[in-house]
Every structure is written in C-alpha cells, then in structure tokens.
Amino acid sequence: MTEPLARPKRKNPLARTTQPLLPPQARSRKAHGFTLAAATGRFMLQCCGECGRYTYPAREACPNCLSSDLTFQDAPTGGALLSETRIEVTSDPYFREHMPWRTGMVQLDCGPVAVVHLHGDCGGPGSRLKLSLQLDRAGQAVFFAKPVSEVPHMEDDPQWREMTADPKHRRILITDGRGPLALPLAQALKKAGAARIFVGVADRWKPFDQQAPLEAIEGVELVDLDLTSERSVQDLAMDIGAKVEILINTADHVRPAHLFDAGAANAAREAMDHTVMGLMRLAQAFGPVMRSRGADGATGAVAWVNVLSVHGLSNAPQFGVHSATHAACLSLSQWLRTELRPGGIRVLNAFAGPLDTEWFQMVPPPKVAPKALADAVLDGLKRGLEDIYVGDVAKDIEARLFDNPKAVEREAGQ
C-alpha cells in the first residue's frame, strides 16, 4: 500500500530550491499519436486497417502485413506484467532526482509488449495491470501501469504524482471569485485535500453572493485580483506568487454583441481585456515563479488550468465576441504551455459548452452545470490531462471538429 503523502514541512529558507529537470523528450512525429491520446485521457495504439493487429512502438507500416494503413485507435487497457526492474542508479539527470524508480515489461492485452512505468502498488510478474497513457513532466506520452483494483492512497504514489497534478497538499489560486465556477471549484479542491485555496476577487467594493459561502470553506482566502489591471496582478504575484502550485484561471466575460453593432468593438475590447490580456498578465506575473518551482519538493508547482469555451475552437455567432476571445486565449494558452514546459508545469485546457449560468440563459439545454465543470477540472488534474471537453456540447464539437471542421463552422452559422 502506498504511504499516504504527508503534509509538507515548511521549506528551509537556507536550502537552495531544487531546479526542475525533465525526462527525455525525443519523440517521432508518429509517436505524437500517443501524445494526443494521453492529453485527452485515452488509451490508443496504432492499429492496422488491413490485418486488425495493434502494434507498438509507433511505426510507418504494420510489422505483420506491411500495410501502411496504421492509425491510432482506442485499445483495451488491460495487461500482464512480464518482468519488473527497480532502477536504483541512473545517469539520466531527471530520474536521478527520483530514485528508485519502478519500471516493467508488460504484455498488453491488445498484443504488443511495452516498457511501462510501474505504480508502487503493482504486484510482481504475472499480476494483472491497468494501463494508461500519461504525459510525463516533459509533456511526452508514456505508458503507466496501475493495479487493476483501487488501493488506499494509490494517488499518492510518487511516480504517479509525477504524471499528474493532484491538488492534495497543494496551494491553489482560482482567479475569478465572482464567476460561477469559483465556489464549486473551491469545494472540490478542499475535498481533494488542497492545503490553501486563494480566490481572486476584483472590485472588492462590489458585493457578490458567493463571498460568504466561499469564506466559509476552511483554507479559502479571498485576495484582491483584477485581471484587467497589470498592477493588481503583479501585486498579488509579489505576495503569493511563490505559494501557488496550481493556478486555475476561470476568468470569463460573456457579453452578447453583434458584429455590426455600434458598441461591438467596446464589448470585444472589454472581453479581450478580461480574458486574453488577463491571461497574458497572469502569465507574466505568475508564469516565471511557477516555472522555477516545478521541482520544489513533493508539492511543488505543477499545473496551470485555463477554463475555455469550446466555441474558441469554432465560432458560435450567437456568442461571437466570446468565441473570438477564447480562440485567442487558446492560442495564448498553447504559447504558455511551451513556456512552462521547462518547469514541468502542465497546462490544462478545459473546454466547456455553454454553462448553466445567467449569460447563457437564452441557450437551450444541454448546458454545463458549474459543479460538473469543476469536477471535470479536478478529474483532469488528478489524471494529468492536457485537454478536457466538458459537457455534451463540447464533446460533440470536439468529435465533429475531428471529423470535419468546415461542417462545424457552417452549421454553427445557420
């Protein structure tokens, strides 16, 4: 059984902060099929369209029938351990910091044999395993094997924690306390064992309903944070920047505006200022310090979440400004992901359809309850995902974009 992760002690201010290192990153272009699967929490291997066999490692042609019709397909997640190796010494700089490290050879149920990272609770050779594709600290896909059934505290396994962004004992910043997500997120994070939850609130002189229930959660601290103000964002980073291990940017600004309306430019600029420029200001203030703390002990900085509209992927004319701003946020988020990678910080984009909130009042169901979105973000952090699609609308758009982006665009405008 995994030893439960103890609440970290306060840092020795005389000790140098360990600098982040990354596991080996080289991957072929083909192998990024695994990256796509791992980013969205799927288990996919190349499967031959001719003979139907799965193959691994990634190849250009099927080793069985030489067909080039090899596409990544969902595969069964079971496997059996053939052998295990507990690595005590290595010359790899990243793994040297994490010795000992368990690996194993696994006979996958779908056919191939793979070298995998082994969870500490996995039994010896012959034991059954549940496989997943995970993104390691370098953002590259790796196989990870866990026992088939749940074991107490298994999420605290040190190797698993390297593959995920579990909030347990971590300090979190939620950027928009006035938004509908803040309260359910804070509740879910508290339940997941977060050490402290900072909740940013702009314009403290304006009352808001969630203030009392937010403050009632133990460990929640409301802090001044106005994403439209460079000074406000910088000031908060000066105070708590080095204490934020997970940043969850929930900023949004939904205002209906028609492209040809006289005031549409104002609406767009306001929305851009709250969301795109807000994310930019956050990145500038919190990015560097989070990146530098990627290896700061067992609860170092680990993840940045951007809650985005799925319409950022394809414009919904009814919410044209909103869609455009989230498209820009997505682009910025990808940039941020690259900039944070040297620190091993994951950037998770949570794409949601219309929320069940006042600004989407006129939108017919299905809509996403803020609590469902909060739970999905928590799930994404705990599983180490990079892109999650929350709710029926988002999932539908994801699937249809994969199939035919033009159809999504045309149909949204009808």
């Binding site: 002189w205 304006k206 009352p207 000074r231 406000s232 205002r255 104002n266």
Partner: protein, 263 residues
C-alpha cells in the same frame, strides 16, 4: 497699484493669504466607478500599463500608457453627457468656455444628515436655510454638496446593495430650482455621481443630470476635501481635458480659499 488684481493674487498665494485646496482624489485602479447593469456598456476603470521604467523598454525614462472612461475618478460632466443637453451649443469638454472653468462655490454642509442616512436628499428648504445664514447663492456659482462621503472607501463608498447604490444627493425639485431660480453653473458631490444612489427611481430619473445638462450646466463628482472649504467665497478651478466631443473627463479640481483674518 490698486488694479493689479493678479499681482495681489500672486502675493496672496505667496503669503498664504490665499490657500489652494486640492479637491481631487488620486486616480488609481481601485477607485470605484459607476456601475451599470452588466448587459449595458460600462465605463472602463482607470488602468495604467508601463511602457518603460529605466529598463529595456526605455533605458533612461519612466512612462506609462493610461486608459479610463471619461467618467472615472474625480471628474467633470459636460452638458452633452445627458440627452437633455445633446443639442446645446458648446456642450462638450473641448468647446467648454474657458471662463466657466473658474467660478465661485457655495458649500452646503449636509455631512451630519448623510452620516445618519445614506439616502439623504438635499431639498429646496435645506438650501433656503443655508441662504438665510450665508446669503443668496449668486448666479454662475458652483453648489457643492458636502457629505464627507469622500472619507469612505471601497465597498462603503460605493455602498451597493441588492437594490442599487445608496448614496446621498439632491432631490428633483432642488435641482430644477437651483438651475432655474439660482442660475448655478454646476453642482458637485463627493459621491460617484451628481445624483443620489437611488436617483434612477426619481421623477425625472437622475434629476441632477437631467436639469443641469439640459440647461448647459456642469457636474463635478468624486470630490474630496470639501470640509476644508468655507460655506461661501472659495473659487473653484475645474478644467477638464480638451477631448474632442468628450462628454466629461477626469480632472484636477482646485479651490482657492482666502484665509480669514485672525487679527
């Protein structure tokens, strides 16, 4: 030289016989601005983004880019701000006659009433009572409503409740009367607007805006230090930015106050 008014004035400034009182709040990102229902357009708050501070962006100099709505911080309302003043000549800040930028002020102290009741409303009888003590309000004077509201900050200053803002201001009758019967040049307050927090429910709605701007008069709001002014005799210098077709602007409001002789 007896007619050397400005020379005497310079002497009075130098000797301290005339004091300069700053009636302006610091323009900062935290200062509350007027809040409209969220589906309507909003005033941008004051924001400052650095261009450089003796760094890579400019090695020897410090400067910033600013953004704000016309009605941010201590600010001036021009007649064009309200529909009632939309067709008047010289109704925007760029066409404002310079002579109107300097005018005497009558300060009506209602700080006690406002302290007791956030929804305190100035009435004609309050002004008449003030006139009985200090004399009639002269034409083209500013009337400044002292409430000491400027001592509040943040949430207490905005005082937003579920049914809107609760801040003191004038009632509809007194605004019509001040403009029609006393020919005031403008009306100034310490709160976010020249009107009371609940003035949207008055008839007409927002009477200070309605009557002042409809008659080509001006508004000043978010003033401070009114408690340093005498009831009568201060001169107000209020020169808004010369913004083309602007409806108002943040500005520095100064009061010139003659020290009472103690001898």
């Amino acid at each position: 030289m007896s007619d050397d008014i400005l020379g005497k004035f310079a002497g009075a400034l130098a000797s301290g016989a005339v004091r300069v009182v700053d009636l302006t709040h610091t323009l900062s990102p935290d200062f509350p601005v007027i809040v409209m229902p969220p589906e309507l357009g909003q005033s941008a708050p004051f924001r400052m983004e650095r261009i450089s501070r003796y760094d890579g962006g400019g090695p020897a100099w410090y400067w910033n880019n600013l953004s704000f709505g016309e009605h941010t911080g201590t600010h001036f309302d021009a007649p064009i701000h309200w529909y009632t003043g939309r067709d008047l000549p010289l109704n925007s800040v760029d066409t404002l006659p310079p002579a109107d930028m300097i005018a005497p002020a009558c300060v009506i102290d209602c700080s006690q009433q406002a302290n007791e009741d956030a929804d305190f409303l100035l009435t004609v009888s309050d002004v008449v009572k003030w006139e009985e003590e200090h004399g009639r309000i002269l034409p083209r004077s500013w009337v400044l409503l002292r409430t000491d509201w400027s001592r509040k900050s943040g949430a207490a200053y905005a005082n937003l409740l579920a049914d809107g803002a609760h801040t003191p201001g004038p009632d509809a009758d007194v605004m019509r009367w001040l403009v029609a019967e006393r020919d005031i040049i403008g009306f100034g307050t310490e709160t976010i607007g020249t009107d009371a927090g609940q003035a949207g429910h008055f008839s007409p709605p927002y009477p200070a805006h309605h009557y002042l701007h409809g008659a080509g008069r001006y508004g000043l709001q978010c003033l401070t230090n009114l408690d340093h002014l005498p009831p009568k005799g201060a001169m107000i210098v209020a020169a808004p930015l010369k913004i083309q077709n602007g409806s108002g602007s943040p500005l520095r409001v100064l009061a010139l106050v003659q020290e009472r002789s103690t001898g």
